[in-house]
Subunit: 123 residues, 4 copies
DNA sequence: GTGGTCTAGACCACT
DNA sequence: GTGGTCTAGACCACA
């Protein structure tokens, strides 16, 4: 599988996000080793240093830990921590901005496609 | 009033967004002159070149036009054009990403604060 | 002035420590710009990326902030924050280890050279 | 009992230090056999090669000797030699750095907890 | 095998 | 001018 990168956001950031998605989706579980820096570099056709930078971000976020000579291991509690942190960020930062933008554009939820089982009504 | 800039997005972009907001909110109307580059630079404590770049973006978007010896004037139809363009972008780009993110975080609209007169329900 | 690097600790770490020392010593003050990445790289005969890595550590520690197109600026409150953090680390981590080591080596403070105006006595 | 390793210092080094501590504390005496590589590896959940490397360091320091078919035995005079070497290192290397760091942080011995029977005074 | 660090050199966006 | 990112390739210590 090849990979298409968004030119406007750093590759290491996209790789970090991709890995986070995998953790949230359960494809990567706590205690698992991340695929090795070299392997990912080959698979995604990018420089090992770039992969390393992405992984280092995860280390800084306390989501994975580096074990010398072994690899990068997903820490216990990472999934929970991640979910809480991302939810908090969405609620406190992203959502208010979304509402503000919708108001500015005079858009209502009735104008937007919602997931199947949900429905919005004005009162 | 000084101004707090988001370090992660270009200042000229933020200034462009700020101006667009003013137009959408009606604080700047079609036919109005934008405040001079030099004035904005002083007010916001930024480089005149940066202001100029922001204004140039607006020119490129056909929202304002430069009049030699006069200044930058908001074009007729700018508000309508802006509203359509921003709405289209929101619907086609932003909204799908928002839904995707909410799904990943297992968030439902019932978990989110909605504007006063709107209400969501699961079916 | 040339520079001697400790081979056992990463250059970027040593550069970070050096910069911190300068801040603590008041040679670099809050609001000052750090010398540019390129300049330091030339002066110390190291790679710009290495300098950048050192500076990034300081950004992560909230001691300096990066201003695009301008440079790296020492944040307000950096000195105070630094002093508190380093003191806390010394007291809670380093000092207990020192005492433990001295006990293990059966060393007393009377065996050690102290700064001029201080004196230790057994009771 | 499992063991918590400091991720920043090599495991073999930590194991060497641990063993040295045991010798200094008298839990391991001259003439004693060190626990077997394989036993330690199982107990501490680490790679036998790592244990082996730690033991080799002790051999290189002339603190233990390998006896074919028997194991690693703590040499006569090891305790004394160790005490002298570690004391010398502490005095010439560690202590000056400690004083330097304390000066930088503007810390005095009066700010630090000392063992019960010792007291510091300024003159 | 693993990750960590460094170099040399390039290109980019921003001010 | 500034910092940020990426590549290609190298060397090291660790397990």
């Amino acid at each position: 599988m090849s990979h298409a990168w968004d030119q406007n956001v750093p590759i290491y950031q996209q790789l970090r996000d991709r890995t986070v998605s995998h953790i949230l989706a359960g494809r990567l579980k706590e205690g698992d080793l991340l695929p090795s820096v070299r392997q990912v570099a080959v698979d995604l056709q990018i420089n090992p240093l770039t992969v390393s930078k992405a992984y280092q971000v995860l280390v800084d976020e306390s989501l994975v830990e580096s074990q010398r000579g072994v690899g990068m291991r997903i820490k216990a509690g990472a999934t929970h921590q991640l979910l809480e942190a991302e939810r908090a960020r969405f609620l406190s930062q992203d959502w208010p901005e979304i509402l503000k933008r919708m108001e500015q554009l005079n858009l209502s939820f009735e104008d937007l496609p919602l997931p199947n089982n949900q429905k919005v009504s004005s009162q």
